[in-house]
């Protein structure tokens, strides 16, 4: 009897003390995770970006509270502290760029670089396509960070993923980062121009590439177009460089294919199990109401056919409003709120925007590229070529909005050729006037095309070009933020945890500071 008990108790300890050590090692790692990295899978994570897609958090906390508001591409009520930057939301955006909480552009690119460096030569050649595509994504996303903040940690960023070192990274000069991004894009474009993928590599790449489905040519166009965008961004600050490089591209369309046709638009499809839409993100902060300048000053006078797919007239007291009414910006928020709740203002179209669950993440479109071309050609080339590009830009922009409406199952009649021609003939839009007027038209149409969805681009271009000239009702009760800022201030996490390097940029860290390309008066 007693022996049984003794044996029982001793037995409990006999996971055979030798095998115990193996068991400890097994239990050290989480069975739901892996310690094995993968270049292809990290690449997919970089593409699967909720800051590119119209995800709730990005629209609600970042776009409509910052760049879209600062570009008046959404409406906002005259509530107190309306122009203040939302520090914790800004912090989230910054976090999503660097860390795996979001797409983790930096973290995952560095993980890829670490794996790549440890590969044998043959493996490297198979991985090159991922590395180059990742470079393009990184350049695109990084330039947006620079446009928002200016100097940011870049070259040394992601040290933890690359080297296991948590030494804080220095803030690189914005201008130097831009130069580096341009190089990366040029390199990637050159790679894609000559890339011939092994069929197995092509299959795997097509599988992992959720943005362009493995199209090497698509990546080349994307790389060149982002390069064009960045060169134009610095074109007032370093006109010689911009002009030389842009014109070289535009003069050799065979060597430098661009996203200049709608068929080449780079759009990030929503995941097929995505079932959300932008309604809450927009309605919660009353950003679904038609903004005054955009509707009354730009679209209506031009007879813009997009109005009917962009807005709904809405109805008050059960009766449809007589017209598309925008929300006046110079009345009190009480009246604004009351009118909004009574449905007196036009609101964003439900098929195109509010309930559109097929709405893609807009990366770069032919409309934007044609506007960029138009500006370049207007400044450095032939006005006729500029006109062609501009008109193509307007047409593609209009068609794009109808395309979005159709994606959302919109019941609007398709765009007619007459509507388009009448828009292009409208004096507000028609390509006629002094060179400055022409540039203003290009920029205004581009601003309109960006809308709130691409308002990060829109805000950068607004600051670069100062067009269109927007007026804001000052918030006198908030001495710190009476008007919108000209850049975002650094998130407190970076300030606090990277205080040594922050000190070097602290002086530039004001809401009225200017990004290096913001030189035009």
């Amino acid at each position: 009897m007693k022996r049984i008990y003794v044996n029982l108790i001793i037995g409990l300890f006999v996971c055979g003390l030798t095998s115990c050590e193996d068991k400890l090692a097994d239990l050290y790692t989480n069975p739901d995770q892996t310690s094995q990295g993968s270049i292809g899978k990290f690449f997919t994570r970089m593409l699967n970006n909720d800051r590119v897609r119209p995800s709730y958090w990005n629209v609600r906390t970042f776009l409509v509270m910052h760049p879209a508001k600062y570009t008046q591409t959404v409406s906002f009520t005259n509530s107190e502290r309306r122009y203040m930057q939302q520090l914790s939301y800004i912090d989230d955006f910054w976090r999503d760029y660097y860390t795996p909480t979001g797409a983790g552009i930096i973290a995952h690119l560095r993980e890829m670089e670490k794996l790549y460096a440890a590969m044998p030569e043959e493996g490297k050649s198979q991985a090159d396509v991922y590395m180059n595509a990742a470079k393009v994504v990184c350049a695109d996303q990084t330039s947006q960070m620079v446009d928002l903040w200016g100097d940011i940690p870049f070259a040394e960023a992601g040290g933890l993923n690359l080297k296991g070192s948590s030494v804080p990274a220095v803030f690189d000069d914005a201008k130097i980062i831009y130069a580096r991004l341009l190089e990366m894009l040029e390199d990637a474009s050159a790679y894609f121009a000559n890339a011939e993928l092994d069929s197995r590599v092509q299959t795997a790449f097509s599988q992992q590439d959720i943005l362009l489905n493995g199209s090497v040519e698509g990546w080349q166009r994307y790389a060149n177009s982002v390069r064009l965008r960045l060169l134009m961004r610095i074109s007032f600050e370093n006109e010689n460089l911009a002009q030389a490089e842009v014109m070289e591209m535009l003069n050799n369309p065979g060597a430098y294919p661009l996203v200049d046709e709608a068929a080449h638009d780079v759009l990030l499809e929503p995941l097929s199990n995505y079932n959300d839409n932008m309604r809450n993100a927009l309605v919660e902060v009353s950003s679904h109401v038609a903004p005054e300048f955009l509707l009354d000053q730009v679209m209506k006078p031009a007879g813009d056919p997009r109005i009917r797919v962009w807005f709904d007239k809405n109805s008050s007291g059960g009766v449809q409003n007589a017209d598309y009414f925008s929300m006046p910006s110079n009345i009190s928020s009480t009246v604004q709120d009351a009118n909004i709740s009574q449905g007196r203002y036009a609101i964003l179209d439900s098929a195109t925007f509010l309930f559109n669950r097929a709405f893609p993440g807009i990366v770069i479109t032919s409309a934007e590229v044609n506007f960029l071309k138009a500006e370049a050609l207007q400044r450095w080339g032939a006005e006729n070529d500029a006109r062609t590009a501009y008109e193509k830009g307007v047409e593609d922009a209009v068609r794009f909005m109808f395309y979005l409406n159709q994606l959302g199952g919109g019941a609007e009649d398709p765009l007619t050729q007459e509507e388009l021609e009448s828009l292009l003939a409208n004096p507000l839009v028609a390509y006629a006037g002094t060179p400055n007027e022409l540039l203003s038209k290009i920029w205004t149409q581009k601003w309109l095309h960006f809308g709130f969805m691409q308002s990060i681009q829109g805000w950068a271009e607004l600051r670069r070009t100062k067009v269109p000239a927007l007026t804001f009702v000052p918030d006198l009760g908030t001495p710190d933020a009476q008007l919108p800022p000209s850049r975002l201030i650094y998130p407190s996490s970076e300030k606090t945890y990277n205080s040594v390097n922050y000190a070097a940029v602290a002086e530039k860290d004001t809401p009225i500071g200017k990004i290096f390309w913001d030189v035009r008066q």
Binding site: M1, K2, Y5, V6, L8, I9, I10, L12, F13, K23, L24, A25, L27, Y28, P31, T34, S35, K41, F42, T44, R45, R81, S88, W94, R95, Y97, Y98, T99, P100, G104, I106, A107, R110, P153, G158, N161, L162, S166, I210, N213, E269, L271, S272, N275, R279, V283, S333, T334, D337, A338, S341, L354, L476, G477, P479, S492, S493, E494, T496, Y497
Partner: protein, 1104 residues
């Protein structure tokens, strides 16, 4: 002949036997009730031979000389006796309890019982009565002030909220939870299902979580021992860093026959200690904003057109405002946001009305019995509880069985089983959204009944905001309000259903085997198994006809199973080397494995059919599902060596080699040694007679704290995406980056102490001093995002605590039937950051409100220093006032305090008179600050009485007029002024001139105390000292004769009260215990939790 031969042989045989061995036998009984005492050691004096009594108290042994041998009878808790045999063969003995010694048996690490005298380290012991006197719903919140060196904090919310116990300061900056190890009947129990509770702030977890100790029923606890220092806890190795609480449950008592005890208590719980709100001004901001942004008139009322005819026939306050700078609540009739006309009057109790009246009812019945071969106690407890949090209630059933069975005269088995079945409905949620969020601020003008009516419609849908009018035009909210988050809270916590069901089984089997007289084997297997189920039913918020691309409502099922398997084996050998010198040697093994599994499934994108709560009713066919698991294993070899000399000098040394799976495989074995010594100088020297007892003790030990399972490895998470018509795997690096070189935190502690009793034990003191260092701190280091992760686990630096504890017991007054017993506890502790790693002189632990407030660990400083931006000053120290008339904040940080209390303790008293006794317990905390951003927001919003300053002439506002340029010009007197709420801040302008810019009071508060940009130094950092009347019990015990007449052994009735009032406190708008979270820093950061409560009621105890 044959017969003669046989007789001779028999005589010879007997003679031979009697010449070599003479047998003596007898029984040993207890003096109190004459019951037999098993296990009494009977030793022949001067030898090491002897025997032990069996379960009938019988012994038998052979003595060398029946005429001269002397037997020594000893038994724990009884006085030893020496009995000369004097030629007898039957020696019966009655042992009398040694009352002094009886109290001194202490259950120490691994359930080893030792006499207090032999201990070289400090322990605190609490009896069952001390834990149950005021009917606390759990034992841990009964520990307030009762043991020096222990800091207790109970999260608000009531019986389902966690109780934190912090022993001897902070032992770890971030790893784990700083919570002690809990051992019940020798088995390590699960306290937390996750590493910490509510430590990630509100957004991490909105519910106020409970911990595993809440399931241990106070009524079943016989005694509780707190092993405070490393010396006491060393045998637990890596579990011991935060101290150990050892609980022994009640056993069936020997010799009482069938006993039945019945206890019942009922207490009422009500909200207490609410902020001091101002009740004069209603909602609104400064005039400029009221008029400019809200279109109000100058007074702050918005004109209202009630009938839509285009003319304004009424007015209303700015319901949308979070500020409370609107017009005075003067009783006029205004249009209300629910569509009625109401009086604009202060509702001073509307915050209290948000809460409900709670209470608890606890019934316990216990049966105990014993026989010669078995003893048992069985108890059942039912606890019903209703929280003050709206919509929340819970119950718990505890079944407890503790039995001992003798299988053989040398083998006994203890079987203990505890089954806990509990249910929580709508666990209280932190009210962060109401207290720490402008979107939840409601005004004193608000009628709470309007909120309580409006949060759902008559059809059972969610309230209808004005912008969604079409959903229900009749019941829609008429004017946009501010506190939508209050409506949301009510909808979630009152209307929706969140039900938690838990079944927990705690079992242990212990085998005691006396192999030889001086060799004992004890083996123990214990299990703590919990099955957890949760169902969350969120109702549809509006009719499905209004659904867009998704629906509302949801159904979630969560399941968890948490298993802890514990085992230990100890083989003990003891030997007297001489009559003065004794040696004990113990070797053993211990192991613990954990196996936790959590699963969750929920509907996605809402419910397709209204309010049908089923996974098959998901709007999106792809359900949300997730699971996570933790498995871990720890095992250790241990050894103990005990030496004692003449029963006054004791030395113990222990060693433990431990292996732990949470540590990297190449580095998972550690050794933990300890040594301690006790010296009872009153027995070694002749001392004045007023000193009854005195002991000096010293201990040194090394223990540790490992990382949590799976935190160290560097690993990647895979997710499968549905992209187009294919599935694509993506891989994500860790936002919290791993570290494969992590080591456990190593704590080394030295402690010395003194125990002494004087004046026939009427005065006793127990003091201890300790000093420790904890190196290789495992820190989840917050990183700049630009490194590629948010944080990383690192071994960084060393912290150290020094502290002093004292406990004084006294019976200062005895006269006739009146006796006053008092016990004063005092402890002080300081935890310093000794060093961090090379090149790092600080770590930021908390970065609140966009860098407005930082909490740091700084080399050479106390752990937990608080930093905020100070007001900017010029070279002469004058405050600088900006053009806007407000102080300019410096971009530098200045230290504004630290988290650590200097002194924590309690004062317990019992005054008895005949059958009456009055117990009261006061506890206190002094020193250290807390951080409360919500107080700053509410101050800036003009919520508190203290914000009346400057608002009008009566409260010191300056008179001014506004000139045609809109500039405020100070008036010579109030009589000549249009406005009376001017503030002129003392300071100089940037150019050095004295400030002359007048600002109105509303602008001053709103802009000086706003989220992130406000003056946190002045508005969010507060001293947190308090003295609180924690527990009071007035008990009447019926006279025994009367009780017996009623066929009871004992009857007593008590009036009880808990958390009754503060005798002193420095926080006026926040309860000192509002903080939630188990980690040291979280316990000092308020993010808006629940209001605190007080309870009072009645308790009845019957024994028959």
């Amino acid at each position: 002949m044959k017969a003669i031969l046989l007789t001779i042989l028999t005589i010879l045989t007997l003679a031979v036997i009697s010449a070599f061995a003479q047998s003596v036998s007898g029984t040993v009984a207890a003096e109190e009730d004459g019951s037999p005492l098993p296990g009494v050691s009977v030793i022949i004096k001067g030898t090491s031979t002897g025997a032990a009594t069996d379960e009938n108290g019988r012994y038998e042994l052979t003595v060398p000389d029946i005429r001269t041998s002397v037997l020594v009878f000893s038994y724990v808790g009884y006085s030893s006796v020496e009995v000369p045999i004097n030629g007898r063969t039957q020696v019966n003995v009655v042992l009398s309890p040694d009352l002094q010694q009886l109290q001194e048996i202490v259950v120490t690490a691994l359930g080893i019982e030792r006499s207090q005298k032999a201990l070289g380290y400090a322990v605190s012991r609490l009896s069952s009565e001390e834990l149950t006197k005021t009917a606390n719903t759990n034992f841990a919140s009964a520990l307030y002030g009762k043991a020096p060196g222990i800091k207790v904090t109970t999260a608000p919310g009531g019986a389902t909220s966690a109780v934190n116990v912090q022993i001897r300061g902070i032992n770890s900056m971030t790893a784990g939870s700083n919570q002690p190890l809990y051992v019940v009947d020798g088995v390590i129990i699960r306290n937390l299902t996750e590493p910490g509770l509510n430590n990630g702030g509100y957004w991490d977890d909105q519910k106020i979580r409970g911990n595993g100790i809440l399931d241990i029923n106070p009524a079943d606890i016989e005694s509780l021992t707190i092993l405070k220092g490393a010396g006491a806890a060393a045998l637990y190795g890596s579990d011991a860093s935060n101290g150990v609480i050892v609980i022994t449950t009640k056993k069936g008592r020997q010799g009482r026959g069938l006993g039945v005890d019945f206890n019942y208590s009922y207490t009422v719980e009500e909200v207490a200690f609410t902020p001091k709100y101002q009740n004069i001004y209603g909602p609104g901001y400064d005039r400029e904003t009221n008029m400019g942004s809200f279109g109000s008139n100058e007074e702050g009322f918005i004109p209202v057109d009630l009938d839509g005819d285009g003319t304004f026939e009424a007015e209303r306050p700015i319901f949308r405002a979070w500020g409370q700078f609107g017009p005075k609540m003067d009783g006029r009739t205004v249009a209300w946001w629910d569509g009625t006309m109401r009086q604009y009057l202060p509702q001073p109790d509307n915050y209290k009305e948000f809460y409900e009246t709670g209470g608890s009812s606890i019934a316990n019945i216990a049966l105990s019995n014993s026989s010669q071969s078995a003893a048992y106690r069985f108890s059942y407890t039912r606890q019903d509880y209703k929280s003050i949090a709206p919509g929340s209630h819970s119950y718990r059933n505890n079944f407890h069985l503790n039995s001992t069975i003798s299988l053989h005269d040398r083998i006994s088995v203890d079987l203990i089983g505890n089954y806990v079945n509990s249910y929580v409905h709508n666990r209280p949620e932190a009210i962060n959204r109401i207290m720490a969020n402008y979107g939840g601020f409601f005004s004193r003008a608000d009628y709470m009944d309007v909120y309580l009516n409006k949060y759902k419609t008559s059809e059972g849908y969610k309230y209808v905001p004005p912008e969604a009018l079409q959903r229900n035009p009749e019941e829609a909210i008429k004017y946009s309000i501010r506190a939508y988050d209050l409506l949301e809270y009510l909808w979630r916590n009152v209307h929706d259903r969140d039900d938690e069901f838990q079944d927990r089984l705690l079992t242990s089997v212990t085998l005691n085997y006396q192999i030889f007289k001086n060799l004992r084997l004890r083996g123990r297997v214990g299990n703590d198994f919990t099955k957890f189920n949760q169902e969350i039913k969120r109702h549809n918020e509006y009719p499905i006809a209004f659904n867009g691309t998704n629906s509302t409502g949801s159904y979630t099922v969560n399941q968890g199973s948490y298993s802890n398997l514990y085992g230990d084996v100890l083989l003990s050998f003891s030997q007297d080397i001489s009559s003065d010198f004794k040696v004990g040697l113990t070797g053993g093994l211990q192991s613990r494995s954990q196996n936790y599994l959590d699963q969750s499934s929920s509907t996605r994108d809402g419910l397709i059919e209204e309010n049908w709560f089923s996974l098959s009713n998901s709007f999106n066919a792809n359900l949300n599902t997730s699971s996570s698991r933790i498995k871990s294993l720890m095992y250790a070899y241990l050894g103990i060596l005990n030496l004692s000399y003449r029963d006054f000098l004791f030395l113990e040394t222990t060693g433990r080699i431990e292996y732990h799976s949470a540590l990297p495989p190449h580095n998972n074995r550690y050794f933990y040694p300890s040594v301690n010594s006790g010296f009872v100088f009153t027995e070694a020297f002749r001392l004045p007679t007023f000193i009854n007892y005195g002991k000096l003790r010293a201990a040194y030990a090394s223990v540790s704290n490992p990382p949590e399972a799976y935190r160290a490895p560097i690993s990647y998470t895979q997710t499968v995406l549905s992209a187009g018509n294919r599935s694509v795997a993506e891989l994500r690096a860790g936002s919290e980056y791993g570290n494969d070189n992590i080591k456990p935190e190593r704590k080394n502690e030295l402690e010395i102490g003194l125990e002494a009793r004087f004046f026939k034990n009427r005065l006793a003191v127990d003091v201890a001093y300790y000093s420790n260092t904890v190196r290789d701190q495992i820190i989840l280091l917050s990183l700049p995002r630009s490194t590629g992760a948010i944080s990383r686990l690192e071994n960084l630096g060393e912290i150290g605590s020094k502290g002093f504890e004292a406990l004084i017991y006294a019976t200062p007054y005895v006269f006739g039937n009146v006796q006053w017993d008092t016990r004063l506890g005092f402890s002080t502790n300081r935890t310093k950051v000794n060093k961090l790693v090379e090149g790092m002189d600080e770590i930021v632990f908390y970065n609140g409100d966009g860098g407005a407030i930082l909490v740091k660990a700084e080399e050479g400083e106390k752990l937990g220093t608080i930093y905020a931006h100070p007001k900017m000053t010029d070279a002469n120290g004058n405050y600088i006032v900006g053009d806007d008339g407000l102080y300019v904040l410096s971009s530098d940080y200045v230290k504004v305090g630290d988290f650590q209390p200097k002194a924590v303790g309690g004062w317990a008293n019992t005054i008895s008179y005949k059958g009456f006794s009055l117990d009261f317990m006061i506890d206190y905390r002094f020193g250290g600050k807390i951080v409360s951003p919500p107080l700053l927001y509410a101050y800036g919003a003009g919520m508190f009485e203290s914000t009346l300053k400057y608002r009008d002439e009566e409260h010191g506002g300056l008179p001014y007029n506004i000139d045609e340029d809109g500039k405020k010009v100070r008036a010579s007197s109030h009589a000549t002024a249009q406005y009376h709420d001017g503030v002129l801040l003392e300071g100089v302008t940037l150019s050095g001139e004295p400030n002359t810019t007048i600002v109105d009071a509303a602008s001053y508060y709103i802009n000086s105390f706003y989220w992130s940009t406000g003056r946190y130094e002045d508005g969010a950092v507060f001293k947190n000292d308090y003295i609180k009347m924690r527990e009071v019990a007035l008990t009447y015990r019926f006279p025994t004769a009367l009780a017996e007449k009623l066929r009871f052994q004992n009857i007593s009735v008590s009036l009880i009260g808990r958390n009754l009032f503060y005798l002193h406190r420095t926080l006026e708008n926040l309860d000192p215990e509002a903080m939630i979270g188990t980690r040291w820093d979280r316990q000092n950061i308020d993010e808006g939790s629940m209001a605190a409560s007080r309870s009072y009621g009645i308790a009845l105890n019957l024994a028959f």
